[in-house]
């Protein structure tokens, strides 16, 4: 049986050193926030992505990449990776597909011969704009129709703390 699961005897932790000052067990409120975060993101993201794809458009990550490239000029995979929380190998293949579809253009990097540069094409700009006409209203449906303005602002404030540094 078993397969991808560590043996009962050796949970693979080098040692139960108790090193970090990390929380031992999360409080009820923290667990509740965790569960809701997962559920809410799944529900909202699922609904929005379904709407966008039902209109015949590519996945939402394409939108994110196009938006970053439109705002930030040509970017290195390295920088896109940092902004969008992508894995490097993942981004590499995503850019391949987007280039094959004519939405981005890849060129060698002038000052660092290791790197490459990705730039948005005119077709890419048009695609991003057309996607937004479905994407935006879908966000309105998924989020705006469930929170008033004050709640949305407060939610944004609290969520921001989660990507920030620890207290």
């Amino acid at each position: 049986m078993s397969d991808a699961v560590p043996s009962e005897a050796a949970p693979s932790e080098p040692a139960p050193s108790e090193a970090a000052p990390s929380e031992a067990a999360p409080s009820e409120a923290v667990v509740a926030a965790w569960v809701r975060l997962s559920r809410a993101q799944g529900a909202a993201f699922g609904a929005v992505e379904r709407a966008v794809r039902a209109a015949g458009f590519p996945r939402l990550e394409w939108y994110d990449v196009l938006l970053e490239l439109e705002r930030g000029g040509p970017l290195r995979p390295r920088d896109l990776q940092a902004r969008l929380l992508f894995a490097q190998y993942n981004l590499s293949r995503l850019l391949d597909r987007m280039a094959a579809a004519g939405m981005v253009e890849r060129t060698p990097c002038p000052d660092d011969q290791r790197g490459s540069l990705a730039a948005i094409t005119p077709a890419g700009r048009r695609l991003r704009r057309r996607m937004w006409r479905v994407y935006g209203p879908a966000i309105g449906e998924a989020v705006g129709a469930r929170l008033d303005e004050g709640e949305a602002a407060e939610l944004a404030r609290l969520l921001d703390k989660l990507s920030g540094p620890a207290r």
Copy 2:
């Protein structure tokens, strides 16, 4: 060129019928909440899953399935699907893998000959418990260390609205 992208001329929308009373464009606060939701979930989930997998455990979905089965007795794929927001075909293969690893057991459903039942095994219960010893503290790190108790409760309340009905 182009490939998975609808042609410029025909965005694939049957008609711009303006049918639903849906939001036309989301407000700034709503877009901010959307962006933060995506970012925060990505950051928190990524950190927690890395911790769990670094300890040699399977993906977090395994935990979710095991927990539901431990709480709810044997369940039909149908019910698991509803509780966990899984696609049906996806769940089917996940249960296959978990059964192959000896963590769940699949049996035919007595009263509905179409359905099947999934039950957690003793090894599954042990796995879930061992996972929690890493999972729980990781949630504490990712969420508890960034919000106080009141903020966590408020965040949970707001997120709950997002999986609920529209205003």
